[in-house]
Protein backbone atom coordinates (compact mmCIF):
# COMPACT_ATOMS: atom_id res chain seq x y z
CA UNK A 1 0.00 0.00 0.00
CA UNK A 2 1.17 3.50 -0.83
CA UNK A 3 2.73 5.48 2.04
CA UNK A 4 0.27 8.13 3.10
CA UNK A 5 3.14 10.63 3.52
CA UNK A 6 3.91 10.41 -0.19
CA UNK A 7 0.29 10.57 -1.30
CA UNK A 8 -1.33 13.69 -2.73
CA UNK A 9 -4.06 15.27 -0.62
CA UNK A 10 -6.51 14.64 -3.45
CA UNK A 11 -6.25 12.19 -6.33
CA UNK A 12 -7.69 14.44 -9.02
CA UNK A 13 -8.39 11.50 -11.32
CA UNK A 14 -11.06 10.37 -8.83
CA UNK A 15 -12.50 13.88 -8.58
CA UNK A 16 -12.58 14.26 -12.37
CA UNK A 17 -14.37 10.93 -12.72
CA UNK A 18 -16.94 11.85 -10.06
CA UNK A 19 -17.60 15.12 -11.87
CA UNK A 20 -18.64 13.03 -14.87
CA UNK A 21 -20.57 10.41 -12.90
CA UNK A 22 -22.63 12.71 -10.65
CA UNK A 23 -24.90 15.55 -11.51
CA UNK A 24 -23.73 19.01 -10.47
CA UNK A 25 -25.92 19.21 -7.37
CA UNK A 26 -24.87 15.80 -6.05
CA UNK A 27 -21.21 16.55 -6.77
CA UNK A 28 -21.38 19.69 -4.60
CA UNK A 29 -23.50 17.98 -1.95
CA UNK A 30 -21.21 14.99 -1.56
CA UNK A 31 -18.16 17.19 -1.08
CA UNK A 32 -19.88 19.35 1.51
CA UNK A 33 -20.91 16.13 3.24
CA UNK A 34 -17.31 14.92 3.26
CA UNK A 35 -16.28 18.12 5.06
CA UNK A 36 -18.93 17.39 7.68
CA UNK A 37 -17.80 13.75 7.90
CA UNK A 38 -14.18 14.79 8.48
CA UNK A 39 -15.17 17.17 11.28
CA UNK A 40 -17.61 14.70 12.78
CA UNK A 41 -15.38 11.62 12.68
CA UNK A 42 -12.36 13.47 14.08
CA UNK A 43 -14.48 14.78 16.93
CA UNK A 44 -15.87 11.29 17.49
CA UNK A 45 -12.39 9.78 17.47
CA UNK A 46 -11.03 12.43 19.81
CA UNK A 47 -13.78 11.73 22.32
CA UNK A 48 -13.42 7.97 21.96
CA UNK A 49 -9.67 8.09 22.54
CA UNK A 50 -10.14 10.31 25.58
CA UNK A 51 -12.58 7.74 27.02
CA UNK A 52 -10.64 4.64 25.89
CA UNK A 53 -13.66 3.60 23.83
CA UNK A 54 -11.99 1.29 21.34
CA UNK A 55 -15.11 0.24 19.42
CA UNK A 56 -16.17 3.81 18.70
CA UNK A 57 -12.60 4.80 17.83
CA UNK A 58 -12.21 1.90 15.40
CA UNK A 59 -15.53 2.69 13.75
CA UNK A 60 -14.67 6.39 13.39
CA UNK A 61 -11.32 5.61 11.77
CA UNK A 62 -12.91 2.99 9.51
CA UNK A 63 -15.70 5.34 8.41
CA UNK A 64 -13.34 8.21 7.70
CA UNK A 65 -11.08 5.93 5.69
CA UNK A 66 -13.93 4.82 3.44
CA UNK A 67 -15.38 8.29 3.00
CA UNK A 68 -12.00 9.83 2.16
CA UNK A 69 -10.95 7.16 -0.33
CA UNK A 70 -14.33 7.12 -2.08
CA UNK A 71 -13.86 10.81 -2.91
CA UNK A 72 -10.17 10.57 -3.73
CA UNK A 73 -8.83 12.17 -0.54
CA UNK A 74 -5.90 9.85 -0.72
CA UNK A 75 -3.57 11.10 1.99
CA UNK A 76 -6.30 11.14 4.64
CA UNK A 77 -7.69 7.80 3.49
CA UNK A 78 -4.32 6.06 3.50
CA UNK A 79 -3.44 7.47 6.92
CA UNK A 80 -6.77 6.22 8.25
CA UNK A 81 -5.95 2.85 6.70
CA UNK A 82 -2.69 2.76 8.61
CA UNK A 83 -4.38 3.82 11.86
CA UNK A 84 -7.17 1.30 11.28
CA UNK A 85 -4.54 -1.41 11.02
CA UNK A 86 -3.01 -0.21 14.31
CA UNK A 87 -6.42 -0.07 15.98
CA UNK A 88 -7.36 -3.59 14.85
CA UNK A 89 -4.06 -4.80 16.33
CA UNK A 90 -4.86 -3.03 19.59
CA UNK A 91 -1.90 -0.69 19.17
CA UNK A 92 -3.57 2.39 20.63
CA UNK A 93 -0.25 4.10 21.35
CA UNK A 94 0.35 4.26 17.60
CA UNK A 95 -3.19 5.52 17.01
CA UNK A 96 -2.70 8.28 19.59
CA UNK A 97 0.77 8.96 18.16
CA UNK A 98 -0.81 9.49 14.74
CA UNK A 99 -3.37 11.98 16.00
CA UNK A 100 -1.46 15.13 14.98
CA UNK A 101 -0.84 13.75 11.50
CA UNK A 102 -4.51 12.85 11.25
CA UNK A 103 -5.54 16.37 12.21
CA UNK A 104 -3.10 17.84 9.67
CA UNK A 105 -4.40 15.54 6.93
CA UNK A 106 -7.97 16.40 7.84
CA UNK A 107 -7.18 20.07 7.64
CA UNK A 108 -5.51 19.62 4.25
CA UNK A 109 -8.58 17.82 2.95
CA UNK A 110 -10.89 20.51 4.32
CA UNK A 111 -8.77 23.17 2.63
CA UNK A 112 -8.96 21.25 -0.65
CA UNK A 113 -12.74 21.12 -0.22
CA UNK A 114 -12.81 24.90 0.26
CA UNK A 115 -13.91 24.60 3.87
CA UNK A 116 -12.44 26.26 6.91
CA UNK A 117 -10.13 23.99 8.89
CA UNK A 118 -10.51 22.77 12.41
CA UNK A 119 -8.92 24.19 15.50
CA UNK A 120 -7.79 21.93 18.28
CA UNK A 121 -6.72 22.79 21.76
CA UNK A 122 -3.29 21.94 23.15
CA UNK A 123 -4.02 18.41 24.30
CA UNK A 124 -5.83 17.58 21.08
CA UNK A 125 -8.76 16.20 23.01
CA UNK A 126 -11.40 18.77 22.09
CA UNK A 127 -12.43 19.57 18.56
CA UNK A 128 -13.79 22.97 17.71
CA UNK A 129 -15.25 23.93 14.34
Amino acid sequence: MQDWRQAPVVDTSVTDQLRQDLDEADFALVHDALADDIRGRLAELSGALAQDDGDTARRAIHSLKGAALNLGHLRLGLLCGHLNHCALAGDWDSVRGGWDDLVASGQSSLAALGHAGLAFDGDSSIVRA
Partner: protein, 149 residues
Protein backbone atom coordinates in the same frame (compact mmCIF):
# COMPACT_ATOMS: atom_id res chain seq x y z
CA UNK B 1 -3.36 5.60 -7.04
CA UNK B 2 -1.64 2.34 -6.18
CA UNK B 3 -2.95 -0.90 -7.61
CA UNK B 4 -3.50 -2.30 -4.12
CA UNK B 5 -6.33 0.09 -3.29
CA UNK B 6 -7.74 0.68 -6.73
CA UNK B 7 -11.14 -0.88 -7.18
CA UNK B 8 -11.61 -3.53 -9.83
CA UNK B 9 -13.21 -1.84 -12.81
CA UNK B 10 -15.01 -3.26 -15.76
CA UNK B 11 -15.35 -1.39 -19.01
CA UNK B 12 -19.03 -1.28 -19.82
CA UNK B 13 -20.39 -0.73 -23.28
CA UNK B 14 -23.04 1.84 -23.97
CA UNK B 15 -25.37 -1.04 -24.74
CA UNK B 16 -24.71 -2.55 -21.33
CA UNK B 17 -25.32 0.75 -19.57
CA UNK B 18 -28.69 0.98 -21.31
CA UNK B 19 -29.50 -2.58 -20.26
CA UNK B 20 -28.73 -1.82 -16.63
CA UNK B 21 -30.70 1.42 -16.78
CA UNK B 22 -33.70 -0.48 -18.14
CA UNK B 23 -33.37 -3.19 -15.49
CA UNK B 24 -33.05 -0.82 -12.54
CA UNK B 25 -35.50 1.88 -13.63
CA UNK B 26 -38.52 0.45 -11.80
CA UNK B 27 -36.63 -1.05 -8.88
CA UNK B 28 -36.63 0.39 -5.37
CA UNK B 29 -33.03 0.71 -4.20
CA UNK B 30 -32.26 1.13 -0.50
CA UNK B 31 -28.84 2.62 0.28
CA UNK B 32 -27.67 2.00 3.86
CA UNK B 33 -24.60 3.98 4.94
CA UNK B 34 -23.80 5.70 8.21
CA UNK B 35 -21.33 8.11 6.58
CA UNK B 36 -23.26 10.91 4.91
CA UNK B 37 -20.84 11.57 2.05
CA UNK B 38 -20.79 7.87 1.11
CA UNK B 39 -24.59 7.69 1.39
CA UNK B 40 -25.03 10.68 -0.93
CA UNK B 41 -22.37 9.35 -3.29
CA UNK B 42 -23.93 5.90 -3.66
CA UNK B 43 -27.44 7.34 -4.02
CA UNK B 44 -26.25 9.79 -6.68
CA UNK B 45 -24.39 7.13 -8.63
CA UNK B 46 -27.36 4.76 -8.54
CA UNK B 47 -29.71 7.49 -9.74
CA UNK B 48 -27.20 8.23 -12.49
CA UNK B 49 -27.36 4.59 -13.53
CA UNK B 50 -31.09 4.93 -14.11
CA UNK B 51 -32.79 4.15 -10.81
CA UNK B 52 -35.81 6.40 -10.29
CA UNK B 53 -36.60 5.19 -6.76
CA UNK B 54 -33.72 5.47 -4.31
CA UNK B 55 -34.24 5.56 -0.54
CA UNK B 56 -31.47 5.91 2.02
CA UNK B 57 -30.98 4.87 5.63
CA UNK B 58 -28.29 5.74 8.16
CA UNK B 59 -27.84 2.29 9.73
CA UNK B 60 -29.42 -1.14 9.97
CA UNK B 61 -32.10 -0.08 12.42
CA UNK B 62 -33.14 2.84 10.23
CA UNK B 63 -33.20 0.53 7.21
CA UNK B 64 -35.33 -2.10 8.95
CA UNK B 65 -37.76 0.56 10.13
CA UNK B 66 -38.19 1.75 6.56
CA UNK B 67 -38.89 -1.77 5.28
CA UNK B 68 -41.81 -2.08 7.71
CA UNK B 69 -43.67 0.11 5.24
CA UNK B 70 -44.78 -2.32 2.52
CA UNK B 71 -44.30 0.40 -0.07
CA UNK B 72 -40.65 0.70 0.93
CA UNK B 73 -39.64 -2.96 0.78
CA UNK B 74 -36.64 -2.69 -1.53
CA UNK B 75 -35.76 -4.75 -4.57
CA UNK B 76 -32.07 -4.09 -4.02
CA UNK B 77 -30.14 -3.11 -0.88
CA UNK B 78 -26.71 -1.51 -1.13
CA UNK B 79 -25.31 -1.66 2.38
CA UNK B 80 -22.16 -0.76 4.26
CA UNK B 81 -20.86 -3.51 6.53
CA UNK B 82 -19.44 -1.55 9.49
CA UNK B 83 -22.10 0.71 11.01
CA UNK B 84 -23.17 1.64 14.53
CA UNK B 85 -26.35 0.24 16.14
CA UNK B 86 -26.87 -2.54 13.60
CA UNK B 87 -24.19 -3.58 11.12
CA UNK B 88 -24.62 -4.78 7.56
CA UNK B 89 -24.36 -8.47 8.37
CA UNK B 90 -27.21 -8.37 10.88
CA UNK B 91 -29.32 -6.29 8.50
CA UNK B 92 -28.62 -8.83 5.75
CA UNK B 93 -29.82 -11.66 8.00
CA UNK B 94 -32.97 -9.83 9.08
CA UNK B 95 -33.95 -8.58 5.64
CA UNK B 96 -33.42 -11.98 4.04
CA UNK B 97 -35.52 -13.59 6.80
CA UNK B 98 -38.40 -11.20 6.14
CA UNK B 99 -38.02 -10.71 2.38
CA UNK B 100 -36.03 -13.53 0.80
CA UNK B 101 -36.26 -12.10 -2.71
CA UNK B 102 -34.49 -8.86 -1.84
CA UNK B 103 -31.11 -8.62 -3.54
CA UNK B 104 -28.47 -7.58 -1.03
CA UNK B 105 -25.12 -6.06 -2.03
CA UNK B 106 -22.50 -5.49 0.65
CA UNK B 107 -20.17 -2.52 0.19
CA UNK B 108 -17.07 -2.83 2.31
CA UNK B 109 -13.33 -2.71 2.72
CA UNK B 110 -13.62 -6.20 4.25
CA UNK B 111 -12.33 -8.10 1.23
CA UNK B 112 -10.46 -10.88 2.98
CA UNK B 113 -11.67 -14.39 2.20
CA UNK B 114 -13.18 -15.03 5.64
CA UNK B 115 -15.35 -11.92 5.40
CA UNK B 116 -16.54 -12.78 1.90
CA UNK B 117 -17.35 -16.36 2.96
CA UNK B 118 -19.21 -15.11 6.05
CA UNK B 119 -21.28 -12.72 3.95
CA UNK B 120 -22.09 -15.50 1.48
CA UNK B 121 -23.15 -17.80 4.31
CA UNK B 122 -25.61 -15.09 5.36
CA UNK B 123 -27.01 -14.95 1.84
CA UNK B 124 -25.35 -11.91 0.32
CA UNK B 125 -26.01 -11.57 -3.42
CA UNK B 126 -23.23 -9.18 -4.37
CA UNK B 127 -20.11 -7.55 -3.07
CA UNK B 128 -18.58 -4.15 -3.83
CA UNK B 129 -15.08 -3.45 -2.52
CA UNK B 130 -14.41 0.04 -1.20
CA UNK B 131 -13.31 2.43 -2.46
CA UNK B 132 -15.91 1.82 -5.14
CA UNK B 133 -16.55 3.43 -8.48
CA UNK B 134 -19.52 3.79 -10.77
CA UNK B 135 -18.16 0.83 -12.76
CA UNK B 136 -17.83 -1.45 -9.75
CA UNK B 137 -21.37 -0.59 -8.65
CA UNK B 138 -22.60 -1.24 -12.20
CA UNK B 139 -20.92 -4.63 -12.29
CA UNK B 140 -22.49 -5.76 -9.04
CA UNK B 141 -25.92 -4.35 -9.87
CA UNK B 142 -25.83 -6.04 -13.28
CA UNK B 143 -25.13 -9.35 -11.58
CA UNK B 144 -27.98 -9.17 -9.09
CA UNK B 145 -30.40 -7.78 -11.68
CA UNK B 146 -29.60 -10.58 -14.10
CA UNK B 147 -28.09 -8.35 -16.78
CA UNK B 148 -25.45 -10.43 -18.54
CA UNK B 149 -22.06 -8.76 -18.93
Amino acid sequence: MSASIAPKETIMSEHMEKAIAAAIADKLVLVVEDTSSSRILVSGLVRGLGAHRVVSATDGIDALAKTLDKDLVPDVVLCDWVMPNMDGLELLTRIKAAHASVKFIMMTVKTEAEAVIMARQHGVDGYVAKPFTRESLMTSLAKVLGVSL
